[in-house]
């Protein structure tokens, strides 16, 4: 395994024991994500893309194989605060203000008061939420809440950002806007991003690499290097290169899965 990798998985297996037998959520998943890469995971429900992210985060324990995050075990990486995790729902605490929510990880990690204030300001500016510090979550739209939750994950400056369908519940216009913002953020922070999505255009637009997965058992069926340049205006989605990558993903999804007809 190479030194520069942020995330390495080798022959990863994960089987959940359930009431009606074992479910193989991941089978023989091998993948290496280099520092600074933006890797999307795409596939139908049950293909293990979220499970893979949770294994990397140390929230699930694999039943076989090996994972290393920054060269250490996922549990150690978690204790080192090596990653920020963005969930599908914003999950902001309603009793805290927006600034209070972003401050939450900093309080837990024991930052000083002045540093907390400085970091909260900085990340809220980064997600364009300056001026909303003292609002409560329910006073904000869904897109703004999700941006606040991204700010919360960025606040403690982990170099890895794990995002589990963060924009899945938002409408397309808001999603486009947040995709652009996320790309800009990735460009000038240089973070490593693992991004789970259901949307082919989103995966192609954002990533340097796209991992196509399929279910029963959850496995990787294709890994696509994205040829698009690093700077991507939204209308790049109409170029032939973009459509070609999208086409290949679609083919990969179809090959890995029959929808029963």
């Amino acid at each position: 395994m190479s030194q520069a990798a942020a995330i390495e998985a080798k022959n990863l297996d994960l089987t959940f024991e359930t009431g009606d037998g074992a479910i193989q959520a991941l089978r023989d998943v091998t993948l290496e994500i280099g520092k600074g890469e933006f890797v999307s995971f795409i596939g139908p429900s049950g293909c293990g893309k979220t499970t893979f992210l949770r294994v990397v985060a140390g929230l699930e324990t694999p039943t076989g194989g090996e994972v290393r995050v920054n060269g250490t075990s996922p549990d150690e990486a978690r204790r080192d605060r090596a990653y920020g995790y963005v969930f599908q729902e914003a999950g902001l605490y309603p009793w805290r203000t927006i600034a209070g929510n972003v401050r939450l990880p900093l309080e837990i990690m024991g930052y000083s008061k002045s540093e907390m204030a400085e970091r909260v300001n900085r990340v809220l500016e980064l997600v364009e939420l300056s001026g909303f510090e003292n609002k409560h979550p329910w006073q904000l739209s869904g897109g703004m809440q999700q941006r606040a939750s991204i700010a919360r994950a960025l606040a403690f400056d982990a170099d890895i950002l794990l995002m589990d369908e963060p924009f899945g519940a938002l409408d397309e216009i808001v999603r486009d806007h947040l995709n652009e913002q996320l790309l800009r953020l990735w460009d000038h922070t240089g973070k490593t991003i693992g991004f789970v999505t259901h949307s082919i255009p989103e995966a192609v637009y954002l990533s340097t690499r796209i991992v196509v997965m399929s279910p029963r058992p959850g496995r990787i069926t294709d890994v696509i290097d994205n040829p698009l340049p690093r700077k991507r205006p939204l209308d790049i989605r109409d170029t032939p290169e973009f459509l070609e990558v999208a086409q290949r993903i679609r083919k990969g999804l179809r090959a890995g899965h029959s929808y029963g007809d």
Binding site: R81, E89, G91, Y93, P94, W95, I108
Partner: protein, 280 residues
């Protein structure tokens, strides 16, 4: 008879007035919402007065409101002593002790499956015991003064607060707990920053139920022995000497105290759980 007829007429008039207010544009305004219950309450008192005087109802069956008010005004000294003994010393101290104990036990139960299996059934068993059975025993143990009343109140308020707190502490989404894990937050950090705030709406349900239980417990416990003061003591002795106006005065004090206590807890609730959908 004329007074009785006057009561009927007044009843109709008040009914008509309230229907008019409720049907008019006033209904949604603050004044309208206050006026309807005030008109209703005043008309009940007036009809009560007129019926009692018109039909010559004996004082021992039902004293007129004006007679009760007279007694209330001339006996404020006694009423205050009783209020202090029962509500302030017995009910409030028992309430505070019961709340703190229930909350602490809820945290312990939440932490340990062993305690959850062992203590929750015992708790529900104690809660099922009738107060008239346990009160004499507690009076025996803790003496006639307010301490035994506080003990009865503790027993009464403990369980509803315990059950609500245990349930509230369990009421966090898997995602919120995962979030704390990604920060590798400790047990205490997760408890203080996530689970206790999330439990507050449940805790306040318990606290509100407990306010009325506390007052009932403190009053009833005095029936089984008390010094020569206290609301329960006064009610039972005044019934014995047929001073019904005094009984009603104590009831008025109890109603007032209960409402204020409940209202105060509701205000604190609104302040603490301002973020909950039911409050905002």
């Amino acid at each position: 008879m004329t007074l009785f007829l006057a009561a009927l007429v007044l009843w109709m008039a008040a009914w008509w007035l309230n229907t008019r207010i409720a049907g008019s544009s006033l209904a949604s305004s603050y004044a309208g919402r206050v006026a309807v219950p005030v008109v209703f309450g005043l008309s009940v008192l007036a009809i009560w007065e007129l019926v009692v005087r018109g039909l010559d109802v004996p004082q021992v069956i039902l004293p007129a409101p004006t007679v009760i008010a007279e007694t209330f005004a001339s006996e404020t000294g006694t009423l205050w002593i009783d209020f202090r003994q029962t509500a302030l010393k017995g009910a409030i101290s028992g309430y505070v002790i019961g709340c703190v104990a229930a909350f602490a036990v809820a945290l312990a139960i939440d932490r340990s499956t062993f305690l959850r299996r062992g203590l929750l059934p015992v708790g529900s068993f104690v809660a099922a015991l009738p107060i008239v059975g346990t009160a004499p025993i507690l009076v025996n143990w803790f003496g006639f003064d307010w301490q035994s009343k506080a003990a009865v109140v503790v027993v009464m308020v403990f369980f509803p607060i315990l059950v609500n707190t245990v349930q509230g502490l369990a009421d966090t989404a898997a995602m919120q707990r995962d979030l704390m894990r990604t920060y590798s937050a400790s047990y205490w950090q997760t408890l203080l920053k996530l689970r206790v705030p999330a439990a507050m709406p449940f805790v306040f349900n318990g606290l509100k139920i407990a306010t009325t239980l506390a007052l009932i417990g403190a009053i009833v416990a005095e029936y089984f022995g008390s010094p020569t003061r206290g609301m329960g003591f006064r009610i039972s002795t005044s019934v014995g000497t047929l001073e019904l106006a005094m009984v009603w005065s104590e009831i008025a004090v109890a109603a007032l105290a209960g409402t204020l206590f409940y209202g105060a807890v509701t205000l604190v609730e609104r302040w603490v759980t301002f973020w909950h959908p039911s409050q905002r």
